[in-house]
């Protein structure tokens, strides 16, 4: 217990201020997502056609902090709701990506030979099939619903995890702790689940922090071609795509979600880099 407390203290002492701010931002954004139901000042889909396109209050509007959109819906509430949807979609998507990729990587590394060949061909296939096109095809043809959408986002980038996990597993098999445990008589499953996975997890986490903001961005691009989250549900990407038409008149409609995306991505990248620099398992201090 005491040791843990110290670890936390140590953590705060070691963390540079910039990283600290980034972490605070990420936590804040996640808290907003989790508690969005309680902090949204208004129903994000309730329209009010009389008070539409109101500017933010700091620009003289009287319809809520960030004003209202083209249907008179409260922008702040929609922003909060968007943070929730975007983060959920990106988060679940990233988890799917990481799990899928890691498992495929491990399987390929373990069975080698033909299994490896097949799985790596699949990886090649995914590389050769840009995600945007995959999304375009799948969503355009199967119709868009949130589950399909999340699964699709889950596919984005899995091959990077697969290659990473495979590479790590292969090198772990070659020498070191995995060989040591194997020769103790451990089953392959045990080796992967108890040893290789915890060791790879660091790198997976770093990859995760890189993949996560990517998902938000991918969602934004999909919204642009009309394949993102569907109205009246909203997301950061669809808010931006929706607001882009108003850049000449009500610029804040696109800029506000844009800032949220930018800051979140920035914070994630900063933290991701920092984690990578500091948690490199090969440099055990």
């Amino acid at each position: 217990m005491l040791k843990q407390k110290n670890a936390v203290k140590e953590f705060f002492r070691k963390v540079p201020p910039l990283i600290f701010i980034a972490i605070v931002w990420i936590i804040a954004v996640f808290l907003i997502a989790i508690f969005h139901k309680f902090i949204m000042p208004q129903d994000p889909v309730a329209t009010d056609l009389v008070n539409r396109l109101a500017p933010p209050s700091f620009m003289g509007g009287d319809q809520g902090f960030f004003g209202t959109d083209a249907l008179g819906r409260d922008t702040l509430s929609r922003l909060i709701r968007s943070i929730y949807t975007s983060l959920t979609v990106a988060f679940i998507g990233s988890i799917i990506t990481a799990v899928l990729g890691t498992i495929v990587g491990f399987i390929a590394a373990h069975f080698k030979g033909i299994v490896d060949e097949i799985l790596m061909t699949l990886v090649d296939f995914q590389y050769a099939m840009p995600f945007m096109i995959m999304a375009l095809l799948v969503l355009a043809f199967f119709g868009n619903n949130i589950i399909l959408f999340v699964i699709l986002l889950g596919i984005q980038g899995w091959m990077r995890f697969a290659r990473l996990a495979r590479g790590m597993a292969l090198s772990a098999q070659e020498d070191g702790y995995a060989v040591a445990v194997k020769q103790l008589g451990a089953t392959p499953f045990r080796i992967y689940a108890r040893h290789i996975f915890p060791n790879v997890s660091n790198i997976i986490i770093v990859q995760f922090t890189l993949n996560f903001p990517q998902k938000i961005i991918v969602e934004t691009s999909l919204s642009f071609i009309g394949l993102g989250i569907q109205p009246p549900e909203t997301s950061l990407g669809s808010m931006m795509a929706y607001g882009r038409g108003y850049l000449m008149s009500q610029w804040w409609m696109a800029v506000i979600p844009g800032i949220v995306i930018f800051l979140t991505t920035l914070a994630m990248s900063i933290v991701g880099d920092w984690v990578r620099d500091n948690l490199d398992p090969t440099v055990v201090k």
Binding site: R13, K14, P16, N278
Partner: protein, 323 residues
Amino acid sequence: MNSDLLTVSNLGVDFLTGGRTINAVQKVDFSVREKEVVGLVGESGCGKSVSCMAILRILGETAKTTGSIRYKGTELLDLSESGIRKIRGKEIAMIFQDPVTSLNPVKKIGSQLIEIIQLHSRLSSDSARKKAVSLLEQVGIANPADRLKDYPHQLSGGLCQRVMIAMALAGDPNILIADEPTTALDVTVQAQILSLLKRLNRERGMATILITHDLGVIAENVERVFVLYAGLVVEEAPVDVLFKKPAHPYTQGLLKSLPRMTDDKERPLVPIEGVVPSPENRPSGCCFQPRCSRSTEICLKKQPLLESLGSGDHKAACFHAEI
């Protein structure tokens, strides 16, 4: 005293990483005379490499170096960046422990060698190439002209170390620092390299600082020894004195813990109990005190200084040094 070519005194190195300060070298004093081979010996992490890299100022920005390093009367720590660059390779050259990774993997060894040669002399590329061939010949590489076209990964560890030595010789330095030049190599190759270094010292009159943790290598190759422990020089002596009459309990312990070819097999080895303290939690007083059988009150309080023990050449930093 014989004229000192290089004098390192009161050297301290701190690393500032991740908001912490690591005191890698506490207080190191040593000197090299002309044409002399000195040895720095000590266990892993005691600060051998850092001390030597501090001389050439190649420790990077996180390192803070204090003390004084005088080469031919010039204070190296005060030199400008371009000033120290004229020392590097030309006056003092260094070779490193792991020869294969110490060579640039994407460049042919010829071009790496010639680059250094041209840097230190105004040779045309043709004559630089000739010099490169002759250098490789000197370090005992067969078919040197062909080897120039090879990449480091195509050479064995022994050959890479020879190339490193050739690169170090390219500027005709006065001092060669060899940082564990043989630890990564096979036993038979190690013997080759060490005899090469000996020959070069003899033929070129180049002073050499040989860093190693292997007391055997020290015994066979150097004239004067500095024993390091936890960032401190704890003993300094001519080689035969050190092995015959080690004064510091640490040195004595090291010698006892070695298995020897002449030993009785049934005699258990006598290790030094305990472990080297990490730079972050060194004990108070004498650094060696927790592992020392002779330690007394005073050892807990004060770090002993390196002091002469009768004969001027033999010094030890111990309150209970055996004379």
